[in-house]
Subunit: 384 residues, 2 copies
């Protein structure tokens, strides 16, 4: 599974000593070709970590031969010296991997903002990881990028002789200064960078972009898709796009399921919207309503807070025609009291909210989680 | 103090039995003239409670003779019957107050969304409140509009024979479904409705509109300014505007200081902005960052979270020129590490964040508070 499920890739995950607790903290993913095609999607935050600025440049060439990922430090807000550290990381990888070019080595980091990385540990770690590269290294790589993740996350899909696999860490920006969602997807399908880019953007738009855990946007979010062409198969475009979407959706669901301090996974489906943008805006507003997130934590089907969240959006709707279901009980009909809220069974981890805007036929699903005292504890200095 | 500090006003606050615990829950404020001029500002939420829809209509006439306020129920998302309840409330007030017209009676409600008000208790309560009206009733009125407020809130300002006084409850939308900020200001200055409107809008724009406790917008927010003209003084426009602003700022500060579950009051000043809109957008983004709010609760001067919040805005800035001070220590300079964060003294309740965008000369101040486990507890069903 993971990034070595597809042919043509090797990976490794090791403990380089970046994390003080000695846990694995450095992953290396290498594309052995014959193709080196790649696409990437990065954080929309205007305050970008050094590795994001670097990797955006690398991806412009459409070729990635290797990815170096580290946990234990975000290398964000570290100034020109931090950027030099990222550059040195790519140079070191190119040096220890015969025949690689630093300009084709992507870098991703996750951890505390505002601290320089311990390069005296990271650079030797790259050499060690290169020595341990294996066609079965995907699992170890997925483990090495964990920060406060309780489990490592991998997924795979494919058909007819080609495969898409991947690994992920984080969920939005959940941890104590430990920003970031990092995702690396690999495929042995034989496709050029432009096709990868199309499939990746379409997939992230309806998966990772619709996970909204705590409304906080990281400085480091990175999603990469690398193609080796090693299967020799040129897949049907729609089938490939669907496989990429399936892997992204699987990983996104795993991220929400592991969100810090969460006790409920919340699936928000907005239906009856005049446009998909309206549906997404409303879903996001519901996902970010702290009062609602507290209520759901307390197993309180508080539809009034759903309505007040909808009311802050610019979506097309008539307040008197809003309908809201919680776990399939329509507790709000026509903007007012609907079915008995006592009928709502809130005992399970997954909570389904359906908001019907009665304004059209478009829809969207946003995934979120509840707001808990554990989240506060894990993200205040008390716990660190 | 409160709404009876100015001449020409009487008020009362009583327990009508709307709240099950028997606490005061009904307030009445009466303008005895000679003028009945008034202005109002209401929630921007498109899902508006019945009393907001009613009072917006009343205010269009520019005259308000009385205000009925209740706690214990928001009368929001209650459909046409809820609107009839508000109408009946105004009719009842006009009936028991000799010579009043229901079309000049404003109504404001606060409490749980989605429940009808117990009109069998509310309507007799209006008669009782009318019987207890007094020129010293302002304090009791302020007490009767409390929901989860730990203290009642009043303020006063003025000069040269005229006065502006007021009362407030709530802070943003903080309580368990107990939405709402309700504010009534009164003055004996002799001014027409248009002048009141100008002064009130200018004041709320830089006070109540810049309090952002939990990012949640109520369905019931109401701020009213009533003028009796009883002093016979026509104040200087600038002096009157400043008095209204002073009372609003005082009450807004009291609201933040009493925010549910909060342990820190956070003053966010954005300077060096290219426009005031930019400064407000950045301040609001910082105020709404859950990760930062948790960090400040833990007395962690986590400037990285300030930068990542700034990075999500559309304001004009260069990430490499951002400076951030926490309690006057410039922990971030030029987008990177600045002065030693160990120098930041976080022991006190008030935390001052200064964000310098280095992009102009405009500025704005937003007030917020931290995110705590107590907030989660108070807003989950566990506590209700």
């Amino acid at each position: 599974m993971s990034v070595t499920a597809a042919q043509g890739f090797t990976a490794a995950g090791i403990a380089a000593g970046i994390k003080e607790n000695g846990n694995p903290d450095l992953a290396l993913v290498v594309n052995n070709g014959p193709r080196l095609a790649a696409a990437g999607v990065f954080t929309a935050n205007r305050v970008k970590a050094a590795p994001v600025v670097w990797s955006e440049q690398v991806l412009k060439g459409g070729q990635v031969s290797a990815v170096v990922l580290n946990s234990g430090g975000a290398n964000a807000c570290t100034g020109p010296l931090g950027f030099q550290d990222t550059h040195a990381t790519a140079e070191k990888a190119a040096e220890v991997l015969a025949g690689h070019n630093a300009g084709e080595v992507a870098v991703a980091s996750t951890g505390l903002i505002g601290l320089r990385l311990p390069m005296d540990k990271l650079l030797p770690g790259i050499a060690q990881a290169a020595a341990e590269l294996s066609g079965h290294g995907g699992e170890k790589a997925a483990i090495a990028i964990k920060t406060t993740d309780s489990v490592h996350k991998t997924a795979v899909a494919g058909q007819d002789g080609w495969t898409v696999g991947g690994m992920a860490k984080g969920a939005g920006m959940l941890a104590p200064g430990l920003a970031t969602m990092l995702v690396v997807l690999t495929t042995d399908a034989d496709l050029p960078a432009a096709d990868l880019d199309t499939a990746l953007r379409a997939a992230t738009r309806t998966t990772f972009d619709r996970v909204d855990s705590d409304g906080c946007m990281s400085t480091n979010d990175t999603v990469l898709l690398l193609a080796s062409g090693a299967s020799g198969v040129v897949p049907d475009g729609a089938a490939f796009a669907e496989a990429v979407r399936t892997v992204c959706a699987d990983l996104a669901r795993q991220l929400i399921g592991d969100a810090e301090g969460a006790s409920k996974d919340i699936r928000i489906e907005v239906i009856g919207a005049a446009s998909e943008d309206d549906a997404v805006e409303v879903g996001r507003s519901i996902a970010r309503n702290n009062l609602l997130k507290c209520a759901l934590h307390g197993e309180d089907p508080n539809w009034g807070r759903v309505l007040s969240a909808i009311g802050t959006t610019s979506a097309v709707f008539d307040p008197g025609q809003l309908n809201v279901a919680i776990n399939d009980v329509w507790v709000c009909k026509n903007g007012s009291v609907g079915e008995d809220r006592e009928l709502v069974d809130m005992r399970y981890r997954e909570v389904r909210i359906t908001a019907d805007l009665s304004a059209g036929t478009e829809s969207a699903v946003i995934w979120s989680n509840d707001l808990t005292a554990d989240y506060v504890h894990e993200n205040s200095a008390y716990s660190s």
